[in-house]
Every structure is written in C-alpha cells, then in structure tokens.
C-alpha cells in the first residue's frame, strides 16, 4: 500500500514556540485538531517532516534511520532541493514513531531493503515544493509583491535586492491553504541533487559528539546484561543467583523470557557478575545440530527433497536433456554453498527504557521503530501515545537492527526493576545469540546453444526461510493487541505454507533475474533447523549472486567465450544492465595489471540497481589477496555521488569479509564463534582500493546500500580461478 502518493492534505499551524510545521495527513487518518508535537520539548516526537522556526531554523524530521548509509543527507538533499534549503544548513533529526513516517512501499516504519531514497524521492520533493510555494504566497501577501516577482534561495525569499528569511512569513503562511501538487523542478535545474554534499553527520561523527543508543545516560539509569541459552530456543530449568548477587554493584537478578538478567550499577559490573551466574537450560531440537549435520541435511534436501517450484518458464526438461539435438552445445551443472553469517554491527545492540507513571521512553537505534513501540505497548499495556521512541544513530545495521529481541528484554527488565534500564549486549552475545544469514546450498544446471545463449537454466536452493522468523518477530510488534495463541498459529501456518506450497521470495531472489533466461525453472527446498534467521545485507542475493555469477564464468569458459561477451549475450532485453556490463567490460579491457595479478568479473541486479565489479586478485602461498575492485553502477539519479561511492566501497569490504573469512559454525546447536578473534572482520591491511563508475541517469533513484554486496564474492572467485585454476564453489573461499 502506498500512502504518500495518494492525494494528501498538508496541515499547517504556527505556534509561538515552534513556528511552522508541515506534515502529511491522509484523508481518513485519525489525526485532527492540534498537532501532536510539543516543539519546545526535544524529547517529544512530532508528526511532521518540516519545521520552520521564527529564527529560520529549518528542521527536517527524517523518516528513515541513519545507520551509515547516508540517508539523512540523502533525504535532506531531496526535500531541500525543492524547498531551496541547503542540506548542510538544515537541522536533521530522527523522526519518532508515527504512521505519517511510514515507508511508502512498506506501509510501516522500516529502514531496509535499500528503498528509502527510491520510496521517498517524489513524496519528499513534493512536500518541499508545496512548502516553498506556501512560503512564497505568504511572502507575496505580506510584502505586497506578486509571487511572480519573488524567488527563493537557501531559506530566504528574495524580492529584488532584499532577502527575507522564510521565518518572517510564518503567521501568514499558517493562515493560508496549502498548495498541492506544486510543479517539481526539472532535473536540469537541480542545485543539490547530484552534488557531492558533505554528509550532514560527518562532523559530529568526527568529533565523537554523535550520540548512539549506547551513549544514552538518563538520571538513575541502571545497567543490565542478559545470560541467554547457548542453544537458541532453550529455556531455563534452574539457576542460582547467589554468586552473581554477591558481586559488587549488583542490584537484582531477574528471570525474563529469553534468559536471566543481571542488573547492576554499571555495565561492567553487570557483565562481570553475569559470568558468575549458574544456569542450567533444557535441550531444544537444535541441540543435535552441528555445521556438518546441517550441511548434510541441505545436501539431502537438495537432491532428495520435494522442491517447490517458483518459476517454470518454457520446457526446461527438454532444454536440459543431454543428447538433445543441436543447437544445444554445452551442458553444465555445479553446486555452490554459502554458510551461516552474523552481522556484527560495530555497535552491539542495546536499548535504554524508562517506564514512569504509565509512560515509556525508549532510547535505542533500530531499523523498525514502529515495531519497537508496538512491542512495548504489548508488554506493558500502556497506550501507544504514551510510548515514545527516541531513535539515535545506529552503529551499523546490515539487517541486524530490524530484529528487536533486545526491546522485549529491556521492557521485561524495566518492569521488574522500577528504574530506567540500559541493556547492552556484549560482542559475545551479539555473535552467539543473534539471528543469522541462512546457510544455502544451491545447484545450478544450464545448457548453452551454439549462439552462446543460455537455452536452459535450472536453479534450486535448499536452506532456511526468513519469513517465519520475521513473522515471529514482527507480528507481536505490529499487532500489539493480538493474543499470543493467534500469533503462534499465524507463524506456524506461515512455516507450513512456506515449506510446502509457497516460496519465501528472499530465499530464491537473484537466482535468475539479472539475465534473459527464456527457458528456466527455479525451485526451493526448505530446511529449517530452528536457528533464528534474518535479513543480512543484500539478503538472498548475498548467496544467489555468488552461485549465479560463478556459474556464468564457468559456462563462458565451457563455451569458450569471453566472460563479459558471454554475459552481454544474456542481456539483450535488459538494456540497463547491458550498459553496465559493457562499460565494465570496457574498463576491464583497458586495465593492465602487474605480473601475478588476475582479474575476475561479476555482475548482479538487486534492489532495482545494476552493479558490475572487477576484482584484481593475486594468490600466493595459498593466500588470496584482493588488491583493487572496480565497480560500475546504475542506480538511477545519483542523489549524492560521493555517498554512492562510499556505499560501494563499504559493500565491497562487507562482502570481502564474507568472501575471505565469514563463517558461523554450530556445535551441538550452539554457535562456535564469539568475538572478532574467531569471527574476523576485514581490516585495513586487507582492504582493496575501490574505484566506482556511476552511470549517468535521469531515472528515479534506486537502491545503493546493498546492491554492491552480491557481485563481489563471485568476482573474487572468478579471479582466483584465473590465478590458480581452482574453481571455489564454497564460501568463504578456501584454497585446496
């Protein structure tokens, strides 16, 4: 459901303390009367995108969560473009939880899926343009000059040689009807969109002043650490709090639904005491699973399981029958594996909750603040309007912060403790008790005809589905009043449905969409071990991209065609990706690499964005070193080219960690890894140089936070093959 694109009313109001507020209100929306904003109180959450104060401060309430992707800068640029206010001169703050801020594509407040710029691009420009038109009308009335003789520039109205701050016209502006559907700028008149404007958060992140959830320090706050079961899903059978309670600074030991919480004066005291806690747990089904048995289960499922078909186009059986008559010339089949992964955002998840007089204030950094509010509503029974979520900067998201187990925990603890509580997960908690990128085993089979086109393509994936976990996690939050048993029933039904008749889109996404594959079959076998799973930067594409793009090189070699040319043959009806691959091919041809370095190529479309990458790799003494990665991207209009480059650089590093190091193992159901010594993250001495070429485009912007991830692993694997002849079909890449 898209709400913002519908006809809307803009409601305005001038307030002595806060100036003009402009909000989107939808017909039929519950909102009415006074604006739900107390602008004098920084702690309160407004229902508005823009606020213009009498002192001409322009405040933008950013509806998407800043986790490093640059969204505050991007959306400030978009709204500022039409409002004629430079993003750097705006105050950009995180919007609170309110349906007016729902992501137009999701109908909820969720930051993820690389869609924020895409989804808000036109709605926010419209709000900026309508607001500017309103200010102009008010100025015309106040100054007695027709609007045709007025212009605007950086938050001022210009009449001849006189400049008036927007803030001068608030009283009149608030009495006028708000213009609607004001004509938007032509892209050739853009002053901020397309410029490399410095990030609005760069300065505070260089001075240490940026506030993350973990930095919140409210009066009387106590610290909590939770001891959770080693095997996900286990519950407490008994515990002895004596030693923990005797530890200095400890105030309370509380059993909660996920484990045992130790509450102390400070985090360090709580974490020290938590190590002294004696807990025994029961053994859920997962406790019989190890990495090896999981892999064996995936293999059995892939080859013997009943697969559900998601896409069946053309006659795949005859296309893949060996001995089929020419023009089919090549047949090839291969299996690819990608392991479980953790997100390991740099800031461990945390939340600070104050419950007081039937009101709740939550300070945290999450990708789903509406759901956080819903969870608190569900657990405390407080009315939603008494629950405020103050979202801070997120110290990395990557999908991890769309899950809210820590919000449930902090709420249960706060109810027991009667003081503001700050819950912090340790790094060990983060690696061992999180939610994981599902392990995936994929088999691809293809035939190539004598023109070099793929005449048959079968892709099959075995692994876990994300939706049941997502339902389990988000339904209680989104429907706080739905009884538990109904939720359980819905989740079980989803599980059943997805394992038999339907397919979780994210499980198979990316298995064919990049290319023309006129005869194809895509199918899936669900294998669920009960380990919590979730979105991980680029989601299904993070493993399907590896399989498909490794396969493309294998097929090109078998057909004796240059890998770039081979891909172009499969892109004749995909002009945008065709151009991206062609451009990357051009760059590749022009590259000269030092002796011992080899180039690998890959391309993948995801989140409506097309990316090709060239990895320059050397292999010495069984060590894979990636020296340089060249990216070509088409993501539509480049709102801020420098942030696009930064996202591709970051995606390359994130994906290279997974390519060279990333692996979560299970032993008797428990996660083996625990911190950065055994779950290593790429470091500076391993970081390649990254070059980015952005294809010029006037189209609507598309995603950029994730699409740089999928092509990297296959580009490296394809280069490794050229370097040493080993075709590595398993992540992380390990030379024999």
């Amino acid at each position: 459901m898209t709400t913002l694109s519908r006809r809307r009313f803009l409601k305005t109001s001038a307030q002595a303390s806060g100036g003009l507020i402009v909000a989107i209100h939808l017909p039929g929306c519950a909102f009415g009367g006074a604006l739900p904003i107390d602008v004098a109180d920084d702690g309160f959450v407004p229902n508005a995108f823009l606020q213009i104060t009498q002192h001409n401060e322009i405040i933008f309430y950013c509806p998407s969560d800043e986790m490093g992707q640059g969204i505050r800068t991007g959306l400030a640029t978009v709204i500022g473009e039409e409002l004629d206010v430079h993003p750097a001169s705006m105050t950009v703050v995180s919007a609170g939880s309110h349906e007016d801020y729902n992501n137009p594509e999701y109908a909820m407040q969720l930051t993820g899926g690389s869609n924020a710029v895409r989804a808000f691009y036109l709605p926010l420009r419209q709000i900026g343009a309508d607001t500017r038109a309103l200010i102009l009308q008010a100025a015309a009335q106040d100054l007695g000059i027709p609007t045709s003789q007025l212009t605007t520039r950086n938050a001022t109205v210009i009449a001849g040689d006189r400049h008036y701050p927007y803030g001068d016209f608030l009283v009149t502006a608030s009495s006028l009807p708000l213009p609607e559907n004001t004509t938007l700028k032509n892209s050739r008149d853009f002053q901020f969109i397309g410029q490399e404007i410095t990030r609005v958060d760069a300065r505070e992140k260089a001075t240490g002043e940026a506030i993350f959830g973990i930095d919140i320090d409210v009066p009387d706050q106590v610290a909590a650490v939770v001891v959770r079961p080693p095997v996900a899903g286990a519950t407490v059978t008994s515990f002895d709090p004596t030693a923990a309670l005797a530890s200095s600074g400890v105030l309370q030991v509380v059993e909660i639904s996920s484990g045992i919480a130790v509450v102390a004066d400070s985090y360090w005291q709580a974490s020290r005491a938590a190590k002294r806690l004696q807990v025994t747990w029961n053994n859920p089904a997962l406790s019989t699973v190890s990495s090896d048995s999981m892999r064996a289960d995936l293999t059995a499922a892939l080859y013997d399981g009943d697969d559900a078909v998601t896409d069946d186009t053309g006659d795949i059986d005859s296309a893949l029958t060996s001995g089929a008559p020419p023009p089919q010339v090549i047949m090839h089949s291969a299996e690819y594996f990608a392991p479980l992964l953790a997100h390991a955002p740099m800031e461990p998840v945390n939340a600070t909750l104050r419950l007081r007089n039937g009101e709740a204030d939550l300070w945290t950094g999450v990708q789903a603040i509406g759901a956080a509010q819903g969870l608190i509503e569900r657990i405390t029974g407080y009315p939603r309007e008494n629950i405020r979520v103050h979202n801070q900067y997120l110290g990395g998201g990557f999908g991890r912060r769309a899950s809210l187990a820590h919000i449930i925990e902090v709420t249960e603890i706060a109810l027991a403790v009667n003081k503001p509580v700050q819950l912090v997960w340790s790094r060990e908690d983060d690696i061992r008790h999180g939610l994981y990128r599902p392990a995936s085993l994929m088999q691809l089979s293809a035939a190539v005809d004598d023109t070099g086109r793929i005449s048959g393509w079968r892709a099959k994936r075995a692994g876990g589905n994300l939706t049941p976990d997502y339902m389990r996690n988000s339904l209680p939050a989104l429907m706080p009043n739905l009884p538990e048993f109904v939720l359980d029933g819905l989740t079980a039904a989803t599980d059943y449905w997805l394992s038999r008749w339907s397919i979780d889109g994210s499980s198979v996404e990316g298995l064919h969409e990049t290319y023309d594959l006129p005869t194809r079959q895509i199918s899936h076998v669900t294998v669920d071990h009960g380990l919590p799973l979730t979105f991980w930067r680029s989601v299904g594409h993070s493993y399907t991209g590896f399989a498909v793009e490794s396969m493309m090189d294998e097929l090109a070699e078998a057909a004796d065609i240059d890998p770039v040319v081979f891909r172009l043959k499969q892109l004749e009806s995909k002009p945008r990706m065709y151009e991206v691959v062609a451009k990357a091919g051009e760059l590749l041809t022009a590259m000269s690499v030092p002796e011992g370095h080899f180039l690998g190529f890959a391309a993948h479309s995801s989140f409506a964005t097309d990316v090709a990458q060239i990895a320059e790799v050397s292999v010495t003494d069984n060590l894979i070193k990636v020296h340089r990665v060249t990216c070509v991207v088409n993501c539509g209009t480049a709102v801020n080219p420098d942030i696009i480059r930064a996202q591709l650089e970051g995606s390359v590093m994130f994906a290279l960690t997974a390519t060279l190091h990333g692996k979560i193992d299970l032993a008797e159901g428990a996660i083996v890894q625990s911190n950065f010594h055994d779950y290593p993250i790429l470091r500076m001495d391993e970081a390649p140089d990254v070059d980015v070429f952005i294809m010029p485009s006037d189209e609507k912007p598309t995603g950029i936070g994730e699409p740089g991830v999928p092509p990297l692993a296959p580009a490296v694997a394809n280069a490794v093959y050229r370097a040493c002849g080993q075709r590595l079909r398993e992540l992380p890449l390990r030379l024999a």
Binding site: M67, E196, A206, I214, S266, E347, V424, M684, A687
Partner: protein
C-alpha cells in the same frame, strides 16, 4: 583513589580499581565518544591516548592510568578548532555509521605524532587494530594521508561545505 589527567583536567576515580579505563571514562566521567565494540582488545573502538600513545582501553584497568595523561576524542581538538585529522575526516566524508571513528581518529592521531608523514604501509600497521564494519578503510587512509600532508596545525580552517562534482573539494 586513582588520580589521572583526563583531557587536561585532573580527575579522581574512587570505584573498583579493576574497572577498565573505557568504562570509567564513559560511565563516571560521562564522556561517550570512546566506544565499546568488543571488550576484548580486538576492535579498537575504545582507543584513547595514554601519555600520548594509542591504547585500547576496554581491557585496561583504570589503575594503569594512575598519574598519567589520558586523552579521548573529546580532548583531541585544540583551542583553535578541529584536529587536522578531524577536518580531513569531514572533507573526505569518511564516516558511515560513525561508531568506530573515534577510535580510528585516535589511533591515527597517535601515528601522526610519531610519524608525521606515514607511508601507506605505516597506516596499515597503525590502524589494522581498528575494525570498521562499514568498510571506510580507503577513505580513512586517504584522510590520514591528507592530514599528514597538510602543513596547517590545529588552527586549520573549518572544512569545505561542498565537494564539487569532480570530487576535488572546494569552499562553499
């Protein structure tokens, strides 16, 4: 009672002497710029200067700081403005999520004190203890190189607001 100098101020800590310096600075002295990333000396998010040397403070008992000088990100800028590294961080748009950046900058500042014009390998060596999950490494390196080449000291001008379309940078 443990006394030390924190960003130029004499301070005293009366709590548990085993408390790591990171938590003393964050919880007792309420300076939140230094971050907790791993608690095991593995990521560098908690990097401060102890007598001018970069050190990971999440595993460093506060007693080690007794009588010494501790500088955190909050104390890095001089009276005249940002440290050249901070300026370079802004003009290069280095931070993404920003969580690791205090530690990165503190590690880089200690490097520049010892090696004012570091090579790329020097930077790798000095900063490989600092993880950036967002992968800002190329920009971190570029910013350190830019700051080390800048002749201006702590009184450096405020950074440019704009980059022009060629990425060359320029004053608004």
């Amino acid at each position: 009672m443990i006394a030390f100098t924190l960003n130029g101020q004499q301070v005293e800590f009366a709590g548990d002497p085993e408390t790591p310096l990171l938590w003393v600075v964050r919880d007792t002295f309420k300076l939140k710029g230094s971050k907790f990333g791993c608690g095991a000396g593995l990521c560098g998010a908690c990097t401060m200067h102890l007598n001018g040397k970069a050190i990971k403070t999440c595993v460093l008992p506060v007693t080690v700081a007794a009588g010494k000088t501790v500088t955190t990100i909050e104390g890095l800028a001089g009276d005249h403005g940002l440290h050249p590294l901070q300026t370079a961080w802004i003009t290069h748009n280095v931070p993404q999520c920003g969580y690791c950046q205090s530690g990165q900058i503190m590690a880089a500042a200690a490097l520049l004190e010892e090696t004012p014009t570091p090579s790329s390998v020097d930077i790798d060596r000095a900063l490989s203890g600092n993880i950036c999950r967002c992968g800002c490494y190329p920009r971190i390196k570029a910013a350190v190189l830019a700051a080390s080449n800048s002749e201006a000291g702590a009184g450096d001008d405020e950074p440019a607001l704009f980059y022009d379309a060629t990425g060359q940078g320029g004053q608004a």
